[in-house]
Amino acid sequence: MGLIVSLGAVLAIVVVAWIGGQVPGLQGLFGIVVPYVAFVTFLFGFMYKVVNWARSPVPFRIPTTGGQEFSLPWIKWSKLDNPSTTAGVVGRMALEILLFRSLFRNTRAEHRSGWLIYGPSKWLWLAALGFHYAFFTIAIRHLRLFTQPIPGLIEAIDKIDGMFQIGAPPIYITDVVFILAVGFLFCRRLFLPKVRYISLPADYFPLFLLLAIGTTGILMRFFFRVDIVNVKALAMGLASFHPVIPEGIGAIFFIHITLVSSLFAYFPFSKLMHMGGVFMSPTRNLANNSRMKMHINPWRTPPKFHTYEEYEEKYRDLMKDAGIPLERE
């Protein structure tokens, strides 16, 4: 059910944008208003979410320790998987965010004739890493549409990405990786029973959206060519707050930009916020130094407990008979 609803939602966006992009009066809506609204929603939604998380305190130090703690001087300490210094935490977070360290640990457990077998399982890690880096590079590449002159770095990335010179215009490596990786993530959701079992519409929808964005992007470049000069004029207009709708931009462009806008607008209200959350996860971004350094819980209240005095009062005779020292005989 989630699958069909999600697919339907993405197709609906495509159809609406397709029609809208062909009605001259509506081009302004889909080319200017929708992107602006989406971007603002993304910006403020993202900030709201992060600030809202930050408003809840971190009362206890709960890092998940993934290696030997800092201990006796002759014991080798796992500085990155079990950091107890700020530098170590920065290192651990860098590994987590740039290389998906935890996902890299992934294993696959199986029952085989009475034995539990654990095999390495790196495909999810590879696809996840591939997808995120490809998407990031694609986003950077797109900045060439929003800048004039185009910064050298962006030009360089664009060149490297297309360096294989296959086809005209050349195929981007990241486009291929993007489609393959998202396709893989989609297939495992569909065909691995465990993953299918846990999947919600909120899992299928972003995948369909990403696939649609990638597909329309590629279609625009190779099949339904759009006038890149006009697209750039529109993008520059958006970026400089003097939006214009140039003549003769193909319908496919309006579909693409509306899909991207949908992604932006959807982002802060969805699981995609893991992008912000991963930085703030208390099991990863805290140093394992809670026996070394005093940490304060801002909402701590003094505990009500059974004091020694009450204890001795209650058990004085028993303690006396047993020869246990007392405060008061």
Binding site: M1, G2, W53, S56, P57, V58, F60, R61, I62, T64, G66, G67, E69, F70, S71, L72, I75, N82, L103, N106, T107, R108, A109, H111, G114, L116, Y118, L124, P193, K194, V195, Y197, I198, L200, P201, A202, K271, H274, G277, V278, S281, P282, T283, R284, N288, S290, R291, M292, K293, M294, P303, K304, F305, Y308, L318, M319, D321, A322, I324, P325
Partner: protein, 540 residues
Amino acid sequence: MKDLTPQEMLRIDLHPPKTPWMDIPVKIKPGVYCYPAKPEKLEVVGMPHPHKWSPLDDDWGLPEDWKEIVLNGMRERLEKYRSFKIFMDICVRCGACADKCHFFLGSGDPKNMPVVRAELIRSVYRGEFTRAGRILGRLAGGRKLTEDVLKEIWYYMFQCTECRRCSLFCPYGIDTAEVTIIGRELINLLGLNINWIQEPVANCYETGNHLGLLPHTFKQNIEFMCMDIEEFVGIKIDPPFNRKGAEILFVTPSGDIFADPGIYTLSGYLMLFEHLGLDYTWSTYACEGGNFGFFTSMEMAQRLNAKIYHEAKRLGVKWILGGECGHMWRVVHQYMATFNGPADFLEEPVSPITGTKFENAKSTKMVHISEFTADLIKHNKLKLDKSRNDHLKVTFHDSCNPSRGMGMFEEPRYIIKNVCNNFYEMPENTIREQTFCCGSGAGLNAGENMEIRLRGGLPRANAVKYVHERFGVNMLACVCAIDRAVLPASMSYWVPEVKVAGVSELVGNALIMEGENERSVDLRGEPIPGRGEEEVSEDV
């Protein structure tokens, strides 16, 4: 269930059904659920809504405004814990955690996949707290909190041992233990705790220990072990209790004072301290290192934990030494100072024997016995005869909490390698930070839930079986009192040839004490092969 053979138990299908999990109603099964808390045990500590009820009844005797209580409780905890708030929002359901849980691997129940366990609560969060969920319901992955949903949450919160194995593999560090801890707090707002947790909590509050040992019994039990030591080792020990002015307060889980094989670990402590002439004391008041309050609510954990510093202050000790225990060490390491510190009335711990400063404990001022012992061995302060453990082929089970909530891996291994000649590691995906739970942690070591305990214990037992068949391993060493209490049952079911021992017991076996006898038996009173007493013991 008692009749299930291991072969039958092993028929586990890890493939979930096609029906979405929200459409499969919960079925509470004997052998899996634990008995409810007795009302009087809730009353002792002033916990809300004590009442008689049964998980198998339709009517759980909930208060009229139960839904409001739970939702307000959730709201409050979302404001108090950033962890909870973030973990409710960012799971992408990638499934990396799915096959990391011992309960899932042992039972095949798909709701024991960590992601689903958390989704049980997350779905309520979405359905009751987010706008999209309130409007779109199921489409946004949300559902309303109903009695059936509550029962499902209850059932699965008590099938999680808070071992954190899943959190190690999560790309965002989502910690199911954190979700379970908060889930159980919510359950406790309605008086729905299980008795196996609640009774120890009540006991610990009053008598100072989970077992409810009264002061004189606590002392007697330790003295009984001293009699055993005198018989087996030839050394007379007179341990100090509630002694003011001692340098060190020693606190261990009360399980070590009570039952086989934990009591032999206790013997190990007693002999070590006697050998060193350590200036220390036991306390009959702060006589529990374990903390079942931690399986109830943060508040209860704090209330039970408070006794340790309170007693340390009264006795005027310099620092605290802690025995072998799992969750005790998560509480000590990650929570204790924040709960009840700062411990500025204590001094930074220094070993009186070696002069080593325990830098890693300088604020909380509590040192793990394995850290203490490893340091002694490193400085050649112990004379050890490894060959007394030669009849043992030892493997080491990393307990969840010291592993993933502290990171103590090398110290116990260093000790074992110095007191035993035969040490074999289990496969790497089952040890150290990837270690598997015993299957009965977090207060789930009751008798009535034995089936799920054995199922949860399967991944650990399976790895033990591997080293047993490959290397002839016959002893599973550990540094956790719950392990010592529950692994014997798991072993006798899955790998009957393997016994369980605390690391300090192995130290006690190897320790050469001044004035000791020829040591023909070990701390259990069993003949050590090749030491000439094989036949004697039966004839006495």
